[in-house]
Subunit: 357 residues, 2 copies
């Protein structure tokens, strides 16, 4: 039996979107391939509220995160982490010989604008990475406030991991002056995994041109130049199936209306949080709780593993806590094309299994 | 109208294989995901005649080629090139700060065992890269003879790009002592693009553990260790859709029988070569002509572009020459699940368009 996925990626993908994955192949050097990538880029610019160029990468989001920190750091990167995915960004820098300092917040806490201000005022850094939405803890960083600090340092490249938030909440790349905003197909955009996406500012590209040892596959300059010189094509053979599905899904997203989509995510988040507060506790402070997934503190001491097994019999899957938070928390993702009806059905099932009335 | 693809990737994918791309998502940390990757690995070991571990990468084949030369070179890499894809392997090394020398053969020629012997006898190199099948020229390297040279140098890591040959011709990884044998989904294996595959020997893994600055996404050690420690899982979210399709397609390949599959490729190649020799000329020496694609010398001075336009109207696509060989050659791929009937239909159409009788 298929389990409807309430895990933070891969997410439940609509049947009509899955069907597009089966479209027959086309040549990746054809005019049709150029048109496909250009159409996708135009639509993604709307989702990200940007006029910047869009780069696609046949990889998970991690690939472009690694490319960003590697290609655009000359002095040192300030990596702000609020959990596992922020820590991984630091590991990406270090494993590529990129100088980087890690500024960690306690699990469940945010990166404060003060932390960013303090680090940048040292003058040591020329690139900042921020996790917008941390799926290991269910925390969403105050990107608006952090952006205000970043605006005081216009020479510092501002990279944001929006892997698990883009498409589920408004991220205004141009207004927030984000240089590289990265996401991935298998989260709030509502597609299967295998394709990473980023927006990139001209100044990030120009900066990268001056950085040596950028590698090839995740060289953002090569990706950018191929888009420009080869009329929206890709250096190597791209994942065409996901591009067909993404093109279709972006039409659906824009048809739903971005504001409606974001409001639906907010409504699912609010409902799940109320349920969590009534029956357990929220893991993060409510004002920093993610809009795409809710991390619940296991105050009842239930077996999350057993709960998930029972849910599986009813056709649902949620996530246990991440890493050291396993069994201490559990995570309910409410993103992409899930509806309030889906969320209510899931939470009723949990109530029923745990005999919560 | 869909054009049946006789280009060297993406190739024509069977409808039943495409359908598998639409399977619903599963969690990538689930037991089902482990089983999927393990099943795929077991089947791929048969295709590659190896007991080595199999690594999957959500990327094009280029990603694992870059990972191989970066992770396993400590001294210097000897990169043998017979065309664009060999040149690119050198670029991958250089762009990662890996010391590498490029040994180029003229377009249409092979890498001779003597060239390899001469280079290795200097003692300068600890890694060799060979292109098995070069789609820019239609040449297949004498991997058997090159392997005999490599066996004299058991400490040198032997990497082979079989991106456009694996699944179309026999490559006996263990007998040839290939340390890292790389391929990609969208060629002779008969799937859409987006997934890279390699076999990896234990000594390549142990060597890589001693190399610094391996990066993260294409760190073969991390991929290997995740397979081992996490029961055939993947460090980041993998392309599950292609894994579903690959698992199915490998059953089809093994059901066809590897020897039958290779014989079918040989038959399509022989037929196309005879046609080429009768009406044009072969671009490479016949003894080194590829079994998965035929590069034809445009001795009639036809417009390849116009030919392809006319073929497009009849529902076919072939490839123009690559780079500087454009219009001077054209390329007909005959790989994956194309049949003798398909090849005959295509060549009859070309005869008809060019009024060859």
């Amino acid at each position: 039996m298929h389990k409807k996925l309430f895990i933070p990626g891969p997410i439940e993908v609509r049947e009509d979107v899955l069907e597009k994955m089966s479209a027959p192949m086309i040549g990746h050097r054809s005019k049709d391939a150029s048109k496909l990538q250009k159409d996708i880029s135009d639509k993604l610019r709307k989702v990200f509220y940007t006029e910047n160029e869009i780069l696609l990468s046949t990889s998970s989001g991690s690939g472009l995160m690694e490319g960003a920190v590697r290609c655009c750091t000359k002095k040192k990167a300030a990596v702000f982490s609020i959990g596992s995915f922020g820590d991984r960004w630091h590991e990406m820098a270090v494993s590529n010989g990129v100088e980087a300092d890690l500024f960690k917040s306690e699990p469940g806490n945010i990166t404060t604008p003060q932390m960013v201000e303090e680090a940048l005022s040292t003058g040591e850094y020329d690139l900042v990475t921020i996790t917008h939405n941390e799926t290991s803890t269910g925390v969403m960083n105050p990107i608006e406030e952090i952006s205000k600090v970043m605006k005081k340092y216009p020479d510092i490249i501002f990279c944001v991991d929006t892997v698990s938030s883009a498409g589920g909440t408004k991220i205004e790349v141009d207004r927030l002056d984000i240089d590289i905003c990265i996401t991935s197909s298998q989260k709030a955009l509502g597609l299967p995994p295998g394709l990473a996406i980023c927006t990139i500012s001209d100044r990030a590209v120009e900066k990268a041109r001056t950085v040596k040892n950028r590698g090839l596959y995740f060289d953002l300059v090569q990706l950018y130049d191929t888009v420009k010189k080869k009329d929206y094509q890709y250096p190597s053979t791209p994942n065409l199936s996901l591009m067909f599905a993404l093109d279709y899904q972006l039409d659906r997203i824009l048809d739903e209306g971005l504001d409606n989509r974001f409001a639906r995510h907010q409504e699912m988040a609010s409902y799940t949080r109320e349920w969590a507060k009534k029956n357990f506790e929220l893991f993060p402070e409510e004002e920093h709780a993610s809009v795409t997934l809710t991390t619940v503190k296991n105050t009842r001491g239930i077996s999350v593993k057993d709960l998930n097994t029972e849910l599986g019999k009813r056709g649902y899957a949620i996530s246990n806590g991440y890493g050291s938070l396993k069994e201490k928390t559990f995570r309910i993702a409410h993103m992409a094309d899930l509806t309030m009806g889906d969320v209510k059905d899931l939470l009723s099932s949990i109530d029923d299994i745990l005999s919560i009335s």
